[in-house]
């Protein structure tokens, strides 16, 4: 068994920042990550980091924009913390050597971004995330922080009192991908989950193959509720074959969207008569899908984004990287033909419910980054607001776990007297663990309380049994089949368009997936670098996460932010200024709500119409 004060799971922007903060606070911290840190998906972020740095801009404006962008589903204390801390934390990155783009006077450049009232997106070329990730990894190397890379974290070692608020987390169980050994890691002071997004729950996503929502699922099963999972951001222009993102820059420069009939549908079919292609992400995404659904898609799948008319010179000057992307990943030359694009899953606004200090309702369990929901993004994330979230809340979680006093949080977590139970919605199928009786050891079984060591040991044993079971089974279904089915269901029915019928259908398919998963087997008999095994475990996590997304999408009968419901075309502020929370409750998802906090430090954010 390994032992550290603080264990950070995941080495993306959030995980690295958390580890550095805990280390600076004097903790013995270790990072456990299934990928080597520099492989984390934070490296894919292009746009930038929002921070009110310049004279004339201030954090209150940033907070206001974020709140408005969130469609008033962000919690004010979180939003304000983000806006207040972002400048300092961005500057710290600069001092750590991050190569930001520069102005003539040598200061960092900032550019305008959608939904921002001031150009406050700090960037480093078109590869901000790459630089952020590498700069922080460098600091981790400098500090000699221990990194267990290519260790796959399977489960949390959490005590199993009935009320999650009474539980505590004492460590993790992980297996060394290279050798296949399952080992326990005891965390004396805290476990910080920073496992990134759940994009692989969808068939078509801009997220990496590694974004499988492991942290979500582990925390969920340990008792921490998942919050606002129905809010998924879809990006309108991703390449059909891989999901690689084509940045908004193309449309910004004047790129035009055409359907298979050569119509400029944004105008000709009246989706956005004023802003056309430059309408907000969700509007464009819905327009594209409508075209495809009505038979005007190219190859019944995508639409065309044409930039040829901009001229070679301008394209080479401003959009050169787009040319490379289209060429390398789609085999299309953007100078001679239009590029195929379609909407792709891009970001999950929801996640593990945490407070401003990154703590969940389970004592000693923290979450930060895309896997967490503080919530700053509410119903919709503004471009450039995820990276500051990583560094601000990553840092806070690290410090708090290391024992620093960050003050009493205003956001509450877990069950409490301020929550309200879900009572109305009828579910098409019983969600939750399939065959609880033959459970593969992932549901808490109540009762036994042991000391921390015992807990970790016990969880290790369960995990070993689970691995053995999967490996020993010689027949059944392979995870790839289940995963594909799940992803297709999500992309077909819980995508940009959501109807009651569709979401219910998705829930039924998810149920089927769960049942099939009972017979899943790992074909690869080797313990060495068994990616088959790893992906099989990930698929299980995806099922849990997908289910919460679909459940959230079903119960929330309104149109807010990125969540669109066919039958409910308006934002219902009277009823829905509240977060959806889903708790695993020993294998039976339990849905409840907690009101949004709109009262900030010295003002209250009054919901207004979100129009730009």
């Amino acid at each position: 068994m390994y032992e550290h004060d603080v264990i950070v799971v995941g080495a993306g922007g959030a995980g690295l920042r958390a580890a550095i903060a805990a280390h600076e606070a004097g903790s013995d911290v270790a990072i456990v990550s299934k990928l080597h840190p520099v492989r984390s998906h934070t490296g894919a972020a292009e746009g930038g980091i929002n921070a009110a740095l310049q004279e004339g801009d201030d954090w209150e404006l940033h907070a206001y924009d974020t709140m408005k962008g969130s469609d008033y589903l962000g919690d004010a204390p979180a939003v304000e913390t983000l806006a207040q801390d972002a400048p300092e934390d961005t500057m710290r990155l600069e001092h750590w050597g991050m190569p930001f783009s520069r102005e003539e006077d040598g200061r960092v450049s900032q550019r305008p971004f959608g939904g921002l009232s001031y150009p406050r997106t700090t960037y480093a070329g078109a590869e901000t995330g790459h630089h952020l990730l590498h700069t922080m990894y460098e600091q981790v190397v400098k500090r000699g922080i221990q990194v267990y890379d290519e260790w796959y974290v399977m489960e949390l070692a959490t005590s199993d009192e009935d009320d999650p608020n009474d539980r505590s987390c004492h460590g993790i169980v992980a297996y060394d991908v290279q050798s296949g050994n399952v080992e326990g890691f005891k965390a004396n002071d805290g476990v910080i989950l920073a496992t990134g997004g759940p994009g692989q729950a969808f068939d078509h996503t801009t997220n990496a193959v590694s974004c499988t929502g492991d942290g979500h699922a582990m925390a969920y099963r340990a008792g921490a509720p998942l919050e606002d999972m129905e809010f998924i951001q879809f990006h309108p222009t991703s390449l059909p074959s891989t999901g690689v993102l084509i940045s908004e820059g193309v449309r910004g420069e004047g790129g035009i969207l055409y359907n298979s009939e050569g119509e400029r549908f944004m105008f000709e079919h009246g989706y956005a008569n004023n802003s056309g292609e430059l309408a907000s992400r969700d509007v464009v995404a819905r327009a594209e899908l409508t075209e495809v659904n009505e038979g005007r898609g190219v190859d019944d799948e995508y639409v065309h984004l044409d930039m040829r008319h901009l001229g070679e010179e301008r394209i080479l000057d401003r959009l050169e990287n787009i040319l490379h992307l289209a060429e390398d990943f789609e085999g299309v030359d953007g100078l001679v033909e239009p590029m195929p694009v379609k909407p792709g899953q891009h970001y999950a606004m929801g996640g593990i419910e945490v407070d401003e200090n990154g703590q969940t309702c389970v004592d000693g369990l923290y979450a930060a980054g895309e896997c967490a929901c503080v919530s700053v993004h509410g119903g919709n994330r503004l471009g450039g607001n995820a990276l500051p979230e990583l560094i601000v809340f990553g840092k806070r979680a690290g410090r708090h776990a290391a024992g620093e006093d960050l003050g009493e949080p205003q956001i509450r977590t877990g069950y409490g007297d301020d929550v309200e139970d879900e009572t109305e919605t009828e579910l098409p199928v019983q969600p939750g663990e399939a065959g609880l009786e033959t459970s593969d050891g992932v549901a808490a079984d109540g009762g036994v309380t042991t000391d921390a060591d015992g807990l970790v040991e016990r969880t290790v044993e369960q995990a070993r049994t689970r691995v053995d079971t999967l490996m020993d089974r010689d027949e059944g279904v392979q995870h790839a089949e289940i995963r594909q089915k799940l992803q297709n269901a999500m992309t077909d029915y819980v995508n940009v368009f959501r109807t009651e019928e569709g979401v219910k259908k998705a829930l039924r398919i998810i149920r089927e997936c769960r049942e099939e998963y009972q017979n899943v087997y790992v074909d690869d008999p080797s313990r060495t670098f068994n990616t088959d095994l790893q992906q099989t475990i990930e698929t299980r996590n995806l099922i849990d996460v997908a289910e919460t997304i679909a459940l959230g999408a079903l119960v929330r009968d309104e149109f807010r932010g990125a969540h669109w419901r066919k039958e409910h075309q308006e934002r219902k502020d009277d009823e829905w200024l509240k977060h959806t929370l889903i708790s695993w409750d020993d294998g039976q998802p339990d849905i409840f709500y907690r009101p949004v906090i709109l009262e900030g430090q010295d003002k209250t954010y009054e919901p207004k119409e979100r129009s730009y």
Partner: protein
């Protein structure tokens, strides 16, 4: 970590067909360099015949030069030297950071020039040789 498989170095030589210009240039340069230093030692040895006396020197040189094989070797030496010089110049440029994009072309140019110079000097070198 469990066992792993080390494929060793053989593969490099197995893959010679896939070598790039820069690799060939490196190999040739090495080869020619070694030839040249080898020659330098031999050369001094031959010249040392002058220590015995002028006659010996003239005879040794003349005797050697009358052999066809020596003449052929000399042409070879010329080729080797010319290539080493030309590619050496190319390397000096590379060291100064000049024309790095054209490094493959300049390697091919060295080869071609070497061939031309060598062929052109064959008459001079083989002049008056007795078989």
């Amino acid at each position: 970590m469990s066992q792993s498989y080390n494929r060793g170095l053989i593969e490099d030589f197995g893959r010679w067909k896939e070598f790039s210009a820069g690799m060939w240039a490196w190999i040739f340069h090495k080869f020619t360099g070694w030839m040249l230093i080898g020659y330098l030692f031999t050369h001094i040895a031959v010249l040392s015949s002058s220590l015995t006396g002028p006659e010996a020197y003239t005879n040794t040189i003349g005797g050697l030069e009358s052999l066809f094989i020596v003449r052929v070797l000399e042409v070879g030496l010329l080729a080797v030297a010319v290539f080493h010089i030309l590619n050496g110049l190319r390397l000096l440029m590379v060291d100064l950071g000049v024309g790095l994009e054209a490094q493959d072309k300049s390697f091919y140019a060295s080869l071609v020039l070497t061939a031309i110079i060598t062929v052109a000097s064959v008459p001079t070198f083989l002049d008056g040789v007795t078989l």
